[in-house]
Symmetry: C2
Subunit: 206 residues, 2 copies
């Protein structure tokens, strides 16, 4: 891996763990084992580096649900697939999602704020459409579509906020790593699917 990519992935990790302001360019240079000046050389500035990290990673997590919406399976099965996809994505890149959500909660870089809003809202339109279709066709109850989406994303996000918090909530020992646990991933998927079936389906028998 060349210096440029090493800097990018190291910066992602440190920004995710310690925040943008909490990470100095010297921290990054030392952790990436490159000279301090290489960061300015490749990216221009610390803030530009941050933007590159977000661009770089957000393109890699881009999942398009548009085709899913058009497929011929039932709406609740589409919801299942969206849950699997979100859980997979967020458990695979927990640090990056920390970074995105933390940046959203800050009033520091308005243009970064807008860019991240756009990334996170990218699929909301599609999901809204799926739930609305279910309601219109009589498959789903008349739920609050927008808050239902908040529940989906918020549940996963809350579990990923902190490793130790998650461990304590689940009464797990210190050697349990929530973020890499396949079992937990499946458990979260299962919980959300059951939750959404109860919440959405009419005449649900579970």
């Amino acid at each position: 891996m060349d210096a440029r990519e090493t800097i990018l992935s190291t910066a992602m990790k440190l920004f995710g763990e310690k925040g943008f302001e909490g990470t100095s360019v010297r921290d990054i240079a030392k952790a990436a084992d490159v000279n301090l000046a290489m960061i300015s050389y490749y990216f221009g500035s610390k803030e530009k580096l941050f933007e590159h990290v977000v661009d770089y990673k957000s393109s890699s997590i881009r999942v398009v649900f548009a085709e899913l919406a058009k497929s011929s399976i039932s709406q609740i099965e589409k919801v299942d697939k969206i849950i699997d996809s979100y859980v997979e994505r967020m458990f695979t890149n927990p640090q990056f999602h920390h970074l995105l959500h933390r940046e959203l909660s800050l009033h520091q870089r308005p243009q970064m704020h807008d860019a991240i809003t756009e990334i996170l809202l990218r699929n909301v339109v599609t999901i809204t459409g799926i739930i609305q279709s279910g309601i219109d066709s009589g498959e789903f109850k008349e739920v609050d579509t927008q808050l239902t989406i908040a529940t989906l994303i918020g549940t996963i996000n809350h579990l990923l906020i902190s490793e130790s918090m998650c461990r304590k909530l689940l009464h797990k020992s210190k050697d349990f790593n929530p973020f890499t646990s396949k079992k937990l991933k499946e458990r979260v998927s299962e919980h959300l699917k059951q939750l959404m079936r109860s919440h959405l389906l009419i005449n649900n028998k579970s």
Copy 2:
């Protein structure tokens, strides 16, 4: 209001908006209209000030559910009351909850991390007990108790992460302030109550 309290509430606001590292003591002094040295004089250091803010505010949001658990209403009604209480608390202090959750997602101040974990987990035991009682008595389905709690808190938290994000999710105009909207608060309460009734109750007819 005396200087000490002005510093505390100003620091709360700025830490909430810009983060701990993103806020300088000079920012706080200027916004609070006090001399820079007053912060060291009253609190010793920036980090100690931060701890005072967390202590100060966390004591004011302390809600004890223990008595609720013992009351003689049905378990689902207890869940309703917990939802109302959480929604009220988090919508009343959104900045402070930003601060808590952001600090949880950082690897910067381990002892602050532990203190906040303790604050946030304070009522989880009680809620777990209520849901478990409902399951044992046959009132509730055998759900995943711990992830159900994550859904409750995570949903509210996700809506409060960002004003503008929330506005866009709900398709509201720029003059709509999600954090002070009584309507939104009631809408979130209503959504969560319906969600939990469908999720928890056996033979639910709604």
